[in-house]
C-alpha cells in the first residue's frame, strides 16, 4: 500500500521535473529563434580554420575539423589534470607528513608555505609563475641545463626524439614543455598540494593517540607504526576529501585561458567566436567538466570502497 503510494509520488515528481526541463528547453528555443539563433552540432564537422599552439602530441592543422580541435583541447586539459593531480597528491603527502615531524624549523616552514598557498588566490599565483617563466633568457641565450636540455622564455626544450637546435626565432626538433603548461601545472600543484597537505595532516592526527602508543608498546618501529597502523586508518578518512581536491583541481585548470594555454575552455571559446555557436559550445564545456569530475570522483570512490572493505 505505502509502496505503491510512494511509486505514485515518485512518478508525479518525475513528470513534474520533466515538464520543468521541457518548459526551460522550450523557452530557450523560442527565445533563441526570436533572436535568429539556431541550435545544432553540425559545425563540429566544419574545418576549424584556427591553429593550436600546443597539441599534446596529437597531429593538428587548421584544416582539421572543429571536433578534432576540441579533442586536442580536451587532451591538453587531461594532461594538465593528470600531471597536476599526481604531483599535487605527492606534494600534499610529503608536506602533510613533514608538518608532523618533531622538527620545529621544518614543520614551521611547511606551515608558512601551506598557509601562504592556501590563502592567496590561485590566479595570482598563476600570474606570478608565468611572469617568472617569461623572465627566462631568450632562445638565443638559452641555458643548457643538461646536454640537449635548453631553458628559455619559450619553455624547456628536451632532447627526444632528437636534439633541439636553434633555428631563427625558436628551437626546432626535440620536445618542448611550454612555459604556459609549466606555470599552470605549477600553480595548480602548489595551491592544491597545500590543501591536500591539510587533509593528510588532519587525517593522520585523527587516528587516536592510543593506537600509536599501543603499536609502539608492541615493539614496532616508527616506520612500521606509520605503515601498518596509522596510514591505513588515516587513508579511510582522507580519500573522499582527496577526491574533492582532485575535482576542483580539474575545474581550476580552466584558468589556463588567462595565460594562454590552449585547454578545452580556450579552444571552445575560440570555436564559439569563430562559428557563432555559443550555446552549443557551452553545453559541450559543461558536459566535458561533468564527465571529467564525475569520472575522477567515481574512481576515487571505488578506491575508497576498496580500502574500507579491506579495513573491515
Amino acid at each position: 500500500m505505502t509502496a505503491s503510494r510512494r511509486t505514485v509520488g515518485q512518478s508525479l515528481l518525475g513528470v513534474l521535473m520533466l515538464a520543468l526541463v521541457w518548459w526551460f528547453a522550450h523557452n530557450v528555443h523560442a527565445g533563441l529563434s526570436r533572436q535568429g539563433i539556431t541550435l545544432g552540432f553540425g559545425f563540429l564537422r566544419q574545418p576549424a580554420n584556427f591553429d593550436i599552439g600546443e597539441t599534446s602530441g596529437l597531429r593538428f592543422t587548421p584544416e582539421d575539423t572543429v571536433s578534432r580541435a576540441i579533442a586536442v583541447g580536451l587532451l591538453n586539459t587531461a594532461r594538465v589534470a593528470l600531471v597536476g593531480s599526481l604531483l599535487a597528491l605527492a606534494l600534499g603527502f610529503i608536506v602533510g607528513t613533514l608538518r608532523l615531524v618533531d622538527n620545529t624549523l621544518l614543520s614551521g616552514l611547511m606551515r608558512w608555505g601551506v598557509e601562504l598557498m592556501r590563502n592567496t588566490p590561485l590566479l595570482l599565483l598563476l600570474f606570478l609563475l608565468i611572469a617568472i617563466l617569461h623572465a627566462m633568457p631568450p632562445p638565443t641565450h638559452a641555458v643548457e641545463l643538461l646536454p640537449g636540455v635548453f631553458l628559455s622564455d619559450r619553455g624547456l626544450a628536451l632532447p627526444f626524439p632528437d636534439r633541439p637546435r636553434l633555428a631563427g626565432f625558436n628551437f626546432v626538433g626535440g620536445t618542448t614543455l611550454s612555459p604556459e603548461f609549466a606555470a599552470l601545472v605549477g600553480a595548480l600543484v602548489l595551491h592544491h598540494g597545500a590543501h591536500i597537505s591539510e587533509v593528510v595532516r588532519g587525517a593522520i592526527l585523527a587516528v587516536s593517540r592510543g593506537q600509536r602508543d599501543a603499536a609502539l608498546a608492541l615493539g614496532m618501529s616508527r616506520w612500521q607504526v606509520s605503515r601498518l597502523v596509522v596510514i591505513p586508518q588515516a587513508l579511510r578518512a582522507m580519500v573522499p576529501l582527496l577526491a574533492t581536491n582532485c575535482v576542483s583541481l580539474i575545474k581550476n585548470s580552466s584558468l589556463a585561458v588567462a595565460i594562454g594555454f590552449p585547454d578545452v575552455v580556450s579552444v571552445l571559446n575560440t570555436t564559439a567566436n569563430q562559428t557563432g555557436h555559443g550555446v552549443e559550445t557551452m553545453v559541450i564545456m559543461l558536459a566535458v567538466y561533468l564527465v571529467l569530475s564525475l569520472g575522477v570522483a567515481s574512481m576515487l570512490n571505488v578506491y575508497n570502497a576498496h580500502i574500507l572493505r579491506r579495513g573491515a
Partner: protein
C-alpha cells in the same frame, strides 16, 4: 483505479504543456517585422545605449570618468542627432566575446567597438552593419631588435593573439597561404598578450592595425616596437545593429555618414556656423535648410549641423583620437577621403 487516475493526471499535464506551446508559437515571427521598436525605445528611455570595447584612442574614460575616443564620438553623434545632447547616451563596455550577446539580448542599441563586417555575421548570425567608419587590416607588432622588416620573415615565430576575434583565423590563413610556420599563443586578456610580447615570450603580436597602435601605447618602451607594413586581412569596421529594424539601421547609416559628408564639403566644427547661410545648394541640403533631406523619422532637420558643430567632421574625429598628435600616431592611410586617395566616401545627402 489508481492507475487510471495517474493516466488522467499525465494527460492533464500534457494538455497544459501543449497549450503553452500553442501560446508561444506566433512570437517566432516577431524578428521579421519591418519597423522595429529601437527608436521608440530610445526616445522613451531618453538615451542611446552604445556597446563599446575599451581601448586607448577608441573608448577610454578620462580623468573625470567621461568616455572619450573614436568609437565614442560616433556614438555621441547619434545622441546629438536624436536629442541634441551628446550626454544622452550610455556606454556599455564589452569584451570581444560578450559583445554579440549584449546586442542580441537588447542591452544595447548598437555596437561601435571595432567589429568588422563579415558575411557570416550578416548572413548566419543576423546582424546588420552600418557604413564602414574605419578601414583597417590585421598586422604585426614586433620588437625593433628582431630586425624583421616584413611579415614574410616571421617563419618560425611565436605570435601572441588575443582570444575572441577573427584574428586567430586570419593568422592561420596567412600562415597557410605563405607556408609559414607560426606558433600561436592565445591569451584571453589583451594585457596578458601585451606582457607576453614585452617579456619576449612572443616574437610578435597580431591585431588589427588600429589595435596595434593602441597596444604600442601600453608598452613601457613604445619607441622600441614597430608595426610591420603588411596587412594580412581586410577589416572594415562598422557599427552593428540587430536584424529586423530597418528604421534604426537607416538612422545609424546616415548619422555615421554625416561626418564624412561634412569633410567632403569642407565643413568642420569651427566653420559650420558660417556655412548655415551658404548659397551652395549641396551644403544647404546637407545642413538641413531644405525640407525632405535630413528630416525623416521625426529627426530635427538641423541634426547634421549639430553633429558637425558638437562632434566635428571625420577628419577632426580622426585626428583628435587617433592622429599624429595623439599617443597612437596611427597613419590615416585608407581612411583619407576618396578625393585624397583614401576610401572614405559618403553617399549624397539630397
Amino acid at each position: 483505479m489508481r492507475a487510471t487516475r495517474r493516466i488522467a493526471l499525465l494527460a492533464a499535464i500534457g494538455a497544459t504543456l501543449g497549450a503553452c506551446a500553442g501560446d508561444d508559437a506566433p512570437s517566432a515571427g516577431q524578428g521579421t517585422r519591418v519597423e522595429g521598436g529601437t527608436l521608440g525605445a530610445i526616445r522613451a528611455r531618453g538615451q542611446v545605449m552604445c556597446g563599446i570595447t575599451q581601448g586607448a584612442g577608441f573608448a577610454t574614460p578620462d580623468d573625470s570618468g567621461h568616455w572619450r575616443g573614436f568609437d565614442v564620438d560616433f556614438c555621441r553623434a547619434l545622441a546629438v542627432a536624436l536629442f541634441d545632447d551628446p550626454s544622452k547616451i550610455r556606454f556599455v563596455p564589452y569584451t570581444q566575446q560578450q559583445r554579440f550577446s549584449g546586442l542580441q539580448s537588447g542591452e544595447v542599441d548598437l555596437l561601435a567597438n571595432g567589429t568588422s563586417i563579415t558575411s557570416s555575421r550578416a548572413l548566419l548570425r543576423n546582424f546588420h552593419f552600418g557604413p564602414v567608419y574605419l578601414y583597417d587590416g590585421q598586422g604585426f607588432l614586433v620588437h625593433r631588435s628582431s630586425r624583421v622588416k616584413g611579415a614574410s620573415a616571421l617563419d618560425g615565430a611565436t605570435v601572441c593573439v588575443q582570444q575572441g576575434t577573427t584574428t586567430e583565423l586570419n593568422l592561420s590563413d596567412f600562415a597557410r597561404r605563405n607556408s609559414l610556420s607560426l606558433k600561436p599563443v592565445v591569451i584571453e586578456d589583451l594585457r596578458g598578450a601585451v606582457s607576453a610580447l614585452a617579456s619576449g615570450r612572443c616574437d610578435a603580436i597580431t591585431q588589427d592595425g588600429a589595435g596595434l597602435a593602441t597596444t604600442r601605447t601600453m608598452l613601457r618602451d613604445p619607441e622600441n616596437y614597430v608595426i610591420l607594413p603588411d596587412r594580412i586581412s581586410k577589416e572594415p569596421i562598422a557599427p552593428v545593429v540587430r536584424f529586423g529594424d530597418d528604421q534604426w539601421l537607416e538612422i545609424v547609416n546616415w548619422v555615421f555618414r554625416a561626418p564624412v559628408a561634412a569633410e567632403e564639403l569642407g565643413i568642420d566644427s569651427r566653420n559650420v556656423q558660417s556655412y548655415t547661410t551658404s548659397a551652395d545648394p549641396s551644403i544647404r541640403r546637407f545642413l538641413g535648410a531644405e525640407q525632405g533631406v535630413t528630416d525623416g523619422f521625426g529627426l530635427d532637420p538641423r541634426w547634421t549641423a549639430r553633429v558637425v558643430a558638437r562632434i566635428g567632421n571625420y577628419g577632426e574625429i580622426y585626428e583628435r583620437n587617433l592622429g599624429a598628435k595623439t599617443p597612437l600616431k596611427f597613419e590615416r592611410g585608407m581612411n583619407r577621403l576618396w578625393t585624397q586617395g583614401g576610401l572614405m566616401y559618403s553617399p549624397p545627402f539630397r
